[in-house]
Every structure is written in C-alpha cells, then in structure tokens.
C-alpha cells in the first residue's frame, strides 16, 4: 500500500515485478486520489469514433499501444497509457480516413446546412462545427475554440474540405484524445479537490461503463446541470447498465477479462493433437463469461451470482464441449447448467475461459493447479499468497516432478522441499486442486491422463471449511464477501482510471460491508455507490 504504487491486487510470483512505488511513467510521486489526464485507450477510441462518426473497422494496430504494467494492470490506467512520438502521425492518418469516410457518406448527421442563398458560408460552418465539437469534446466548445476552428476552416478554399480539416484537428485535439478535467479554478482557489463539472461527470460515467462518449441523454442532463443530482445519477447508471449493447463493448467485456485474465485467451494455445476442439472455442468461451457479467449488471443481480449462476450463455459447440444440450441457432443462448443430477459447472470459476487461460498447454503439468490456485486466491478470494522468496525459488529450481505420481502427490512433494513453501502452498493449492476435474482446455473429466480418479477435495484456505468439488467451492467463495471486495477494487480502478488509494479502499470496504449487512450486494448498488462517492465525483488537485 504505497502512494503512487497503489494497492497490490492479486499478487504475483515475480519478485521485483512492477509494484515498485513511484515506478510509474510520470516522474515524481503522484497525488493520491487523483486521476491523471487520461488518454482514450484503443477500445475507447474505437467506440468513440463509432458513436461520433459511425466509423467502423478502425485499424487497431495504428492506435497508440495501451501499455500497462503495474497495480491492477487495467487498460484504463491513466498514469501509464501514454502517447509515443510516432503516435501523432498514425493518429492523423486514422483521423483523416475516418473523417473522409464520414463526409463522403453523408456527413454522419453533422452537415445540417450547405452554404447558399439562405445561409452564408461562415454561418453554416459555425453551425456545423458547433454541433460537431459539442459531441467531439463532450461539452460545448468555448467561443475561443469556435473562433479557432471556424478560422481554420475558412482558410481552406473548398468549403467541405474546410469542415474536414477542422474535424481532423478536433479528432487530434487533446480535448478529444484525453478525458480532460479542468481543475484550474479549484487549484487557483487552493482547494484540495476539484468537483467534476456535469459534463466531466458525463464523460467519466460513459467511459467508465460504456468505454465511449456520453450519449445525447447524458449531454442533455449535463447541460441542464442535473446529472450530478443523486436521484438522476442513480437513474442514469441504472439506464446505462441496462444498455447491453453499450456495456458489451464497454465494461462487460473489458473488465471481467482483465480482472480474471482471460482477455489474452486468444494467445493461449493447447497441445494441438490432444485438444483439437479448443482453438475454435476461444471466442465462445470469452463471450460466455462476458455475457454472464453483462447479465449480472443488466438484471441488477447479486454480485456473487458470478460464482453461483446455474445457467450460462453458450454456443452450440461450447454446449457440446460442456456436455450440455446444444441450443439451436448459431448465436450463444442462455442454457441451464446440468438441470439433472450432479452439477459439473456453476459460475465463472468453472467457465472454459477462466480454466483454459490459467492452465499450461500440456496436460498434467504441476504449474496448472498452482496458477489456477493463485488466481482463485488472488482474484476471487482476494487473498493473494505472498511471492516466494529467493531461497524458496532456489529450492524450487531443483525440484523435479515425478511423472509416475499424481499432480496432487507432486504438488504435496513440492510443498515439502523446505523453506516457507508448505505454509504458503496451503494458501492456494487447495483451490487449484479443486479445479482438477477440468482439463487444461476446460473440459470436464473424472480421471487424469493415466486414468487415475481425480480427487478434488481439500481444505479451504482461511476458513478451514472442507472443499468437496469445484461447484461446492464456488458456493463457499460466494458465502464470503471477499469476492465483492475483489470485484469492487477492480471496478473502482477501472472506472477511476487509477489504482485504488488507501482512502478509496476504506470507501469500498464501507460499501461492501454496509450493503452486505442488508442482504446480498447487488451489481447496480455497487456501481451506484461507487459512482456517487467523492472518489468518483471529484478529483484531487495535483501539483501545479
């Protein structure tokens, strides 16, 4: 818990990796509780030009890279995602192509006049750019800005080309490329924090939940200065979460994938001869977990339903892979999980996405239960095991797994090599072993490669409760409020665009405790409480 370095989520294996205080890309310590000037990441840029100008097929490789390394490692991390020296050129060409396409195909609704007898060129240009800049900058342009943009446009011989040049400047302006928060007045008044304007709030909400620009409803409420009113704010959040199409390209696909580490599933491969079905299932697996997340948000369901859902959203081929009756049609559909008999799956812990993302490519590798166990401990139980020490790693270097023993036996032996290994393994190994009923591609199995029966039983770290199976473990994890705390941390970091500061953590703990005391914490409540908090509605003033 270090200022600038932020709270450490999940934890990890690599000593010296990433969590160094002040290791960020911005020189000097960052002001606690402050979101830096935040560039639109690739997803946000792509969604924004879609909503602004109807752009499709934006070349992702030409957009700035979203490097993230520290803390929660989310691609919304404002102090990390930057612009390199080559990015202006690439962004210029992307913007030029987007504007050309939009103007060639009718102007995306912005060409509300043409210069002629009724309207002179200057008036028409001003009218068009007023409308466009309000959307592009997510607030009305200032009189100075309008003068600058109309002057540039007037300097181009061809009228329409003048509009195009002004639009390109707008798409390359920091007012478009960044989520600008103007805290100059609050800083001048020596205040500790800047209360977001209604327009700034609209952007923070829409980028937080939709990864895109505010829609007309949000802009209208901001214009009337109504958005920050508590009742209005809560109603808007509810509306935004119910918009599945928007959350699907926003928080519902971006957050769970990064939280649970399956966003990189496309790069995960398995032994090609043994797991032939896997490559074709990657997309359906990711969509399955995203869809569960979207559903929990949309229906305002208890957060722990992520772990206990007795239904899922699967394509016919994924259903078959799971041994479920296949739904008709080619799209994914909601199906009940094992309506009869002993359930094999419940919730995301048993989704192919999570299981395959945290497994080795070859079967029966000791690293599979270790990595899976670490993920469950760190990301779902919110109790990351400490990283192994230098001495422990040296011992582990010498350890060789015995192919004649089961994974469980080998893992036990690894724990016995000395040092602090045994004590530490008990913090995550039981989780990994409880998932052994799923092979490295996520397929259900009851015996290992050598046909020895899988034993999933163990003792739950922390509570000491007996674990019987993965499904029962999901229930045990859901009973606790650790999942809520874990998710709240990632959610806060995602929507705030920064790591969770100690003060934020206290807020999150308060939300989880207060809401849980009244019953199960529901998704909308969590989002509303977070987005109504000081952390979200204000930004600490940084060094001037």
């Amino acid at each position: 818990m270090t200022p600038g370095g932020g709270m450490t989520p999940g934890g990890g294996m690599t000593p010296g990796g990433g969590m160094t205080p002040g290791g960020g890309m911005t020189p000097g310590a960052l002001t606690e509780g402050r979101t830096l000037l935040r560039r639109l990441n690739r997803r946000e840029y792509t969604n924004t030009v879609r909503d602004l100008l109807g752009a499709t097929n934006v070349p992702q490789d030409s957009l700035p890279v979203d490097w993230v390394s520290k803390g929660f490692g989310l691609d919304t991390s404002a102090d990390e995602i930057r612009l390199g020296p080559d990015d202006p050129d690439r962004l210029h060409d992307v913007a030029a192509a987007i504007v050309k396409t939009a103007l060639d195909s009718g102007g995306a609704g912005y060409l509300t006049c043409t210069p002629g007898s009724a309207t002179d060129r200057a008036t028409c240009t001003r009218q068009i750019l007023t409308g466009f800049l309000r959307k592009a900058f997510r607030r009305p342009a200032t009189p100075d800005e309008l003068t600058r943009f109309t002057t540039v446009a007037a300097g181009i011989t061809d009228w329409k080309n003048g509009i195009a040049v002004a639009m390109k400047i707008a798409l390359l302006s920091p007012q478009f490329l960044f989520q600008v928060v103007d805290d100059s007045a609050a800083a001048a008044a020596n205040q500790a924090q800047h209360r977001l304007s209604d327009y700034e709030l609209a952007s923070r909400m829409s980028y937080g939940l939709w990864s895109s620009m505010p829609d007309e409803t949000l802009l209208g409420l901001a214009e009337r200065k109504e958005l920050s009113k508590p009742g209005v704010l809560a109603a808007q959040i509810d509306r935004m979460l119910k918009d599945g199409a928007k959350t699907r390209t926003g928080i519902a696909s971006a957050l769970p994938g990064q939280w649970l580490g399956y966003n990189l599933l496309d790069q995960v491969e398995k032994n090609a001869t043994m797991f032939k079905q896997f490559p074709a299932l990657r997309g359906a697996m990711k969509d399955e977990t995203n869809a569960l997340f979207e559903n929990v948000l949309k229906e305002n369901l208890p957060v722990d339903e992520l772990l206990t859902a007795d239904y899922s959203f699967v394509t016919a081929s994924l259903a078959t892979f799971y041994g479920l009756p296949a739904p008709g049609g080619s799209a994914a559909a909601r199906v009940a999980l094992n309506p009869m008999g002993q359930p094999q799956r419940r919730g995301l812990l048993t989704h192919g996405s999570f299981l395959a993302a945290h497994s080795e490519s070859e079967p029966e590798q000791i690293r599979t239960p270790i990595v899976r166990g670490e993920y469950v401990a760190g990301k779902l139980a919110c109790q990351a095991p400490p990283a192994p020490g230098v001495a422990d790693l040296a011992l582990a270097e010498k350890f060789k797994a015995d192919p004649n023993l089961t994974l469980r036996q080998n893992l036990d032996n690894l724990g016995k090599i000395g040092g602090s290994c045994a004590a530490c393994h008990s913090l995550f190994a039981p989780y990994g072993l409880a998932l052994e009923n799923y092979d490295v591609s996520g397929k259900w199995r009851t015996a290992d490669d050598k046909n020895r029966p899988i034993v999933a039983a163990g003792v739950m770290p922390g509570t000491g409760k007996p674990i019987e199976s993965a499904v029962q473990l999901a229930g045990l994890l859901a009973e606790d409020t650790k999942l809520e705390s874990c998710l709240a941390g990632y959610l806060a970091s995602f929507v705030l665009g920064r790591n969770v500061a100690p003060k934020d953590q206290a807020l999150l703990d308060e939300i989880v405790q207060r809401r849980s005391a009244m019953g199960k914490l529901k998704s909308t409540e969590l989002v509303v409480d977070l987005l109504s908090s000081d952390a979200f509605l204000a930004n600490a003033i940084g060094r001037r």
Binding site: P15, G16, S62, D86, R148, G155, I156, V165, P174, G542
Partner: protein, 430 residues
C-alpha cells in the same frame, strides 16, 4: 576536422533538381575518406539465451558471412536486473545489457541505452531519423512484470522507452514518408502528395494550438503527458516541412512496396528488408530489431515457425526443459540473421562495409539465465574501424566493455557507459 566533401543530401538534391538514389550519392564520396568512419549501427537481439552447448551450436548458421564477423566470447553481465539467483527477475535480460546499469526492473531505473547514445552523440550517425525500434510480435503480458520492459530494447532515458513498432506497414510508413514508391517525376502524383502534406501541416498547426491552449489549465503531472504529445506533433510537423522543402517528393529513393503479411515469419522478414532499405536510402543510421520479446512466452514463438519443432510449449519453456528444441529455434533465428546480413551485403551497396551489427542475447544459457559466458556477434567492418573474421576470448570482460569498445570505434573514445567497466576489449578495433 572539417570534411568539405560531406554534402548534405538534401542540399545536393535541391541543387540538381533531379531525383537521385542514395547509392549513387554514396559513390560520390571518396572511399578513402570513409575508411575508419562507421556509418551505421544495427542492434539485433533474441531472447532466451543460447543452447546448453554454448555459442558453437548456433554460430555455424552464420557461415556465409563469417568473414565479416568478430565473435566476442565469454563476457560477464555484472548488472542484470534482479537479485542474484532469482529466475524470472531477469527475463528481460536486455534491461541491463544495453543500459549497463541495474534497472531494478522499474522504468525509472533505466539509463539511456547504447543505441540511443550512438544515435545522439556519434559523429557519423547524427542528424538522421531517430528512435527506430522494431519487433515482429509484441509479447503477451508477462504476469506481474512490465510489458514495456520486456518489449522495448531502446530507451532514451529513465521512464522513456522507445515503443517498438511491430507492424511492417507502420514501419514502412514511418521511414519512407516523403519517398513514396512510384515512378519518379510524375507531376500529377507529385502535386497530389504536395497538397496532402500541406493540408497535414495545417492540421498539425491547429493541433499544436489546441494543445497549447489546454496546457495552461492543467497541473504539472498532466502537463507532462501533454508535452509528450506536443513533442510528437511538433516533430511530425518538422518532418513534413522538411519533405515539402524538397524539390521532388516522390521517387527520390526506390522504396519497396508497403509490406503486408501477418504471420510471425512474414513480419520478421518484412521488417528485416525494411531495415536494410532504411539504411540503403540513408534514412536512418541506428536501428534496433528485437527478434522476439523477452522470454518469448507463449506458444506462438518457436513452435509455430521452426521446422521440426515438436511440442506446443513455445520457445521459452523449451529453453528450460527441452534443449534440443531450444537449439532448433536459436539456430533458426541465427539463420534469419545470416539472410539479413546477405541482403545487406548484396544490395546496391555492400552495407557490411560501412555498418556494424551487434547480434546477441542478454543471458548466456536459457536454462539457468546465467550471466557469465555471454557472447556477442559483431558483423560488418563499420567503415573499416572494426576488425572481422576472428574470435575474441574476452576473458570474462564485463559486457559494458564491449559497448565502450563500440563507442570508441564510433568516435566516442572515453565516453563513459554503464557501471563496472574496465576499458575496451582489445583486438576488436583496427
């Protein structure tokens, strides 16, 4: 020393008003005057170390250019990036390889890398396009370590990596803008390109103004980010202005067609050719090319493209567990370097005469991530400053001594570099 024969290419082109390829221009420079004056430096890097049998298991792959090689053997890498004995901490082995300092595995711990020092300080290298770093495929996130540090070889200084380009199309665009491929002296195309670039300048001027008008409103932390952007915008404006200042924009150097190809091998080959072309057209004088990200985790490395590779684990796990497969992969990459060196040798000009290439890896053996017994292959005569066709036993010289030697060869004798250096390695310089 003033060298009156060094006519800037642009001045020359302006004076004659004709399109002319650089090789011809180079031919105009007296060969004697160029001797002992290295003109280009290329850094090539691969991850995972060499096979357990040492460098001799892979060096024969470079046989066809061995006359141009100096193999510097058994150096030690005193400043790697993690506590001694900890595997995993030094996966990004080039962190200290090219900085000569212990980075502590944080961006703030970096120093300016050797390639950047050369590009900014070496007399024969200055004034050309900077920050050219390429990698055919970026690595997936290494758990809890930094993506930047495992993917960026070249650093301008602490917290300031050169983000490498992985798309051949983008790299092509960067180096060849203004030398659009096409027939020389096509007035219509010339006019269109001029209009496009003029308009681009208008846009960039507008953008600069927008950045500046926002800057005053922001705090110091945010201004850093805006400044980065402004630097990029202004740099681009300079480039465009310079191109517009030319008498002729199109066809002044025969650029290859924009490179397509999406698989790893196609991208590596495309980037290799473009690097060679960038040298030939004298657009850049220092470039770094990483064959793969540090560690090269993930099965897409090795398994996919190396004939005979069995198993699906990928290069990095193989470097630990499967030396036979690791050997195959490293040999494959050595062969690719040989191909590239032959391209440099057999082009319109024998670039191996004027260039120095460094091909190496940050650890010696992948198995143990060992920091002793490191070798580096120097290829090319560097304008006559570097000896070739030899093996040098460095007797455990610190790796930083190699870079001190290179700096010396490039006219920066005595320029300090990194920590722990004890001088230059004898026998390398002429």
């Amino acid at each position: 020393m003033k060298r009156s024969w060094q006519i800037p290419r642009r001045t020359f082109l302006k004076g004659t008003g004709v399109s002319i390829g650089l090789p011809l221009l180079n031919a105009m420079i007296p060969v004697k005057a160029r001797a002992a004056s290295p003109q280009r430096m290329l850094f090539l890097w691969h991850p995972n170390g060499v096979p357990r049998g040492g460098p001799d298991t892979v060096l024969p792959q470079l046989d066809r250019v061995k006359d141009y090689m100096t193999v510097v053997r058994s150096m030690t890498h005193a400043y790697h990036d993690g506590p001694p004995g900890v595997n995993g901490a030094n996966h990004c082995g080039f962190e200290s390889m090219y900085t000569g300092v212990m980075t502590g595995h944080t961006p703030a711990g970096y120093a300016r890398t050797i390639d950047q020092i050369l590009a900014h300080e070496a007399p024969g290298l200055k004034g050309k396009m900077l920050d050219l770093a390429v990698i055919p495929e970026l690595g997936p996130a290494l758990k809890d370590s930094s993506q930047i540090m495992c993917n960026a070889l070249s650093w301008r200084g602490p917290n300031d990596p050169v983000i490498p380009m992985s798309s051949p199309a983008d790299f092509f665009k960067k180096i060849f803008q203004g030398v659009t491929p096409g027939a020389a002296a096509d007035p219509a195309a010339e006019q269109i390109e001029r209009l496009r670039l003029t308009e681009k300048r208008t846009v960039l001027a507008g953008v600069s103004q927008e950045v500046k008008s926002l800057k005053g409103k922001l705090g110091a932390e945010d201004r850093v980010k805006l400044d980065e952007y402004l630097t990029g915008v202004e740099g681009l404006d300079k480039q465009v202005t310079a191109i517009l200042g030319k008498t002729q924009i199109i066809g002044s150097c025969k650029a290859p067609a924009a490179q397509a190809g999406n698989d790893y091998v196609a991208k590596l080959e495309a980037l290799q050719s473009l690097v060679v072309k960038a040298f030939e057209c004298d657009i850049a004088r220092v470039i770094s090319l990483m064959h793969a990200p540090a560690a090269a985790f993930g099965p897409s490395f090795g398994a996919k493209y190396v004939p005979g590779f069995t198993g699906s684990q990928g290069w990095h796990p193989a470097s630990h567990d499967n030396d036979a497969m690791h050997t195959l992969v490293v040999q494959w990459h050595y062969k690719k370097v040989e191909e590239m060196m032959l391209q440099m040798k057999n082009g319109t000009e024998n670039l191996l005469e004027s260039t120095l290439v460094s091909w190496g890896t940050g650890i010696s053996k992948g198995l143990s991530h060992a920091m002793g017994g490191i070798h580096n292959v120097l290829i090319g005569k560097g304008g006559g400053a570097f000896k070739t066709g030899q093996n040098i036993a460095s007797n455990n010289a610190p790796l930083v001594n190699l870079w001190a030697t290179v700096l010396d060869g490039f006219g920066l004798k005595g320029r300090s570099f990194g920590k722990g250096g004890t001088g230059i390695i004898p026998g390398i310089l002429t």
